[in-house]
């Protein structure tokens, strides 16, 4: 070895110390502290909200998890997945089938479903090694469509795996056992609507915390650095002695596992396993919504996915609350749902391509600097690429390769 590490002594010890230090609240930067407050606030929602409102908000927690799952692979490595609901559906249907048709306990169902969804990630991740941008988009796009057809094809009976069938378009025949519920088969049996609603909410919240921690830990570790380097330039990764294939597959497997876990938790926390909930009413629109959420919030940040899901849900909520009648058409504004939300998403995509969170951090830094009388940082780090920009560059090069254009 030509170069020596400048450190001697026990590196393991120092790493442990460093992790501890990073977890000290008082050491956190402002934006991290805001993040922690926001999570605490989410956890305290049951204090301010009625059980009905809690139930309405619960799906948003799952949207957040789904969006994080997308961000891990697509936001970080730049491998765009257009059918991400594939993983949610595998997780949700998987755990539901395991628990209702094979009589296995809920925990086993969740673990199995997570593993199967991770395998689904492998299934998509391997073609991703050979296929470039648009081709990969197609593979990811048809995955949930094939799954949908599978549900119809085996609606009555899928030998061995689902003896009672996958239920076709209407969803599975029975609601799987709950983690917290009234029925005997629930993990925690409660009585009273209030405690039931609380139970469902906190189940979802716990799942959210798990998904957030996993995604956060991986993307902030050195694997996360490699993910973003893959998005930038795979050759640089290779010449640094790192195997891009390994990390790409890992990203897909992780996204699959996380998405599948969230899908499984969804059906055991009050969600019904049907295609409308797990693939979207238009079969692939949940996949598209998840992308919109992650991009609105800010790709390649994990936190952005969470914020984006919240914004998306808020918009939908506002649209649904507007019950005035539109003059010429004679229908309520709310009946237009989801058109206004989609329209807003288009505007954000065109005018705020980097997303809300990075923009907010940038503005926040400038404001704080001004407030403290320090030198105001540059509005744009000159020349630095944002995640969206580098994903775009990668995609453009791949497309130009394929159609043989010579625009450099």
């Amino acid at each position: 070895m030509a170069t020596k590490t400048p450190f001697e002594g026990n590196t393991k010890e120092r790493r442990r110390e460093a992790v501890k230090e990073k977890l000290q609240f008082s050491e956190l930067t402002l934006r991290h502290r805001i993040g922690v407050y926001a999570i605490v606030l989410l956890g305290l929602f049951p204090v301010f909200l009625t059980p009905l409102e809690l139930d309405a908000f619960r799906p948003v927690l799952f949207f957040m998890m789904f969006a994080m799952s997308w961000d891990v692979v697509s936001g970080y490595t730049g491998q765009l997945s257009f059918g991400h609901a594939f993983f949610f559906a595998i997780g949700g249907y998987g755990s539901a089938v395991v628990t209702t048709q094979h009589g296995l306990p809920v925990i086993v169902g969740i673990v199995l479903a997570t593993v199967v969804a991770a395998l689904g990630g492998l299934l998509i991740g391997i073609p991703a090694l050979r296929l470039e941008g648009p081709y990969l988009s197609l593979v990811t796009l048809i995955a949930p469509l094939l799954l949908y057809q599978t549900f119809i094809l085996f609606s009555e009976n899928l030998p061995l795996f689902a003896p009672q069938g996958l239920g076709g378009t209407g969803g599975l025949p029975t609601q799987p056992p709950q983690i917290v519920g009234f029925a005997q088969d629930a993990l925690v049996t409660v009585s009273g609507n209030m405690s039931w609603a609380l139970g469902r909410y906190y189940t979802a919240f716990a799942a959210f915390l798990i998904v957030l921690s996993v995604c956060y830990a991986v993307t902030r570790s050195s694997a996360g650095t490699v993910f973003t380097a893959i998005r930038e330039d795979e050759n640089a990764v290779r010449s640094s002695g790192l195997n891009p294939a390994k990390f790409k597959i890992f990203a897909f497997v992780l996204a699959g596992a996380v998405g599948g876990f969230a899908g499984a938790m969804f059906v055991h926390a009050g969600g019904f396993p049907n295609t409308e909930n797990l693939l979207g009413p238009g079969r692939i629109d949940l996949s598209i919504q998840v992308i919109i959420m992650a991009i609105i919030g800010g790709m390649g940040t994990i936190v952005g996915a969470v914020a984006g899901a919240l914004l998306f849900a808020l918009t939908t909520e506002v649209v649904n609350a507007l019950t005035f009648t539109i003059p010429l058409l004679g229908i309520e504004f709310a009946a237009l749902d989801p058109l206004p939300t989609f329209l807003l998403a288009m505007l954000v995509l065109v005018y705020l391509p980097d997303g809300v969170v990075p923009e907010a951090i940038r503005r926040g830094r400038r404001m704080r600097a001004r407030y403290r009388g320090e030198e105001v940082p540059e509005p744009e780090p000159t020349g630095g690429n944002s995640p969206v920009q580098s994903t775009i560059q990668k995609y453009r090069e791949e497309i130009n390769d394929i159609i043989g254009r010579d625009n450099q």
Binding site: L80, F82, P127, R130, L131, E132, P134, Y135, S137, L138, V139, L141, I142, L145, L146, Q149, I152, L153, G282, R283, I284, D285, I288, I291, I292, I295, L329, G330, I331, A335, L336, D337, P338, L339, F342, L343, A345, M346, L349, V350, P353, V388, T391, I392, Y395, R396, I399, N400, D401, I402, I403, G404, R405, D406, N407
Partner: protein, 290 residues
Amino acid sequence: MVLDTILSATFISALYAVIAIGFTLIFGVGGILNFAHGGFITLGAFSAYIASGYFGLPIFVGLLAGTLVGAAVGGATYMGVIRYVRTRPVTILILTFVIGFFMMYFVRVFGREILKIDPLNIPVDPVIGSSSFGNDVFIFATSWLLIGALFYFVNYTRTGRAIIAVSMSDKGASLVGIDSERINLITWVLAGAFAGYAGVLLAGSLGGGSWLMSIEPPAPLVLSFAIVILGGLGSIKGSVVGAYIIGFFETFTVTFAPGGSQLAGISSLVLLLVFLLVKPEGLFGREAAE
């Protein structure tokens, strides 16, 4: 039986080719994968319903309406949105998805709330109502007429050759004085018109349209993607060949495979997946130089 199947595969494949060609054109010229293509198809069928089903005009007028609306939304999508984000392919990709779904949901909301019809079953008549064979022949003949006309237009007219030039290099084309903005607009209008036209015929031969028709079997949106990949992204000739491969494969599996009718919409996807993994550059793809 076999002869019938060959015949019906020959007819339906021509329609598939028309469905896919617009998608090919936009990819070839602008390098854009236009997922709003499904929206164009759906709006085309919906317009035909409004003209003929709602206003009671002959279905020929409906076919014309579908084609014109397709052309109009194609042009509007380019002028209103795509033009402004042309340098950001990923944004475009996601935007076209959102736009496509916007159009689909528009059909759903408009159909359900205002016209009070079932958005999953929008009645659109076949153009030749008296015999399904006659209708198939009509589809086949006009599809080939359109494909031929497009082929002539692209290869033998000034504007067509400008399209080819832009598809090879924006910069090169602008150097010789071609207005690539105009060429792109023409492409989008053409693609929209083809999609709208195909949407009307498809809905007619399936016995009705639906807000989800672009992703329900035979899933024309996915089909176009599949056909274009089989034929090599960006080649008109390739798309026609791809359409015939997919059309034949699909018709034959549906007719002859056990439980075949259940496989409608799946078989071509599976074929495509296998193909993608074995030969990702397509049948007529331009090979990347090493």
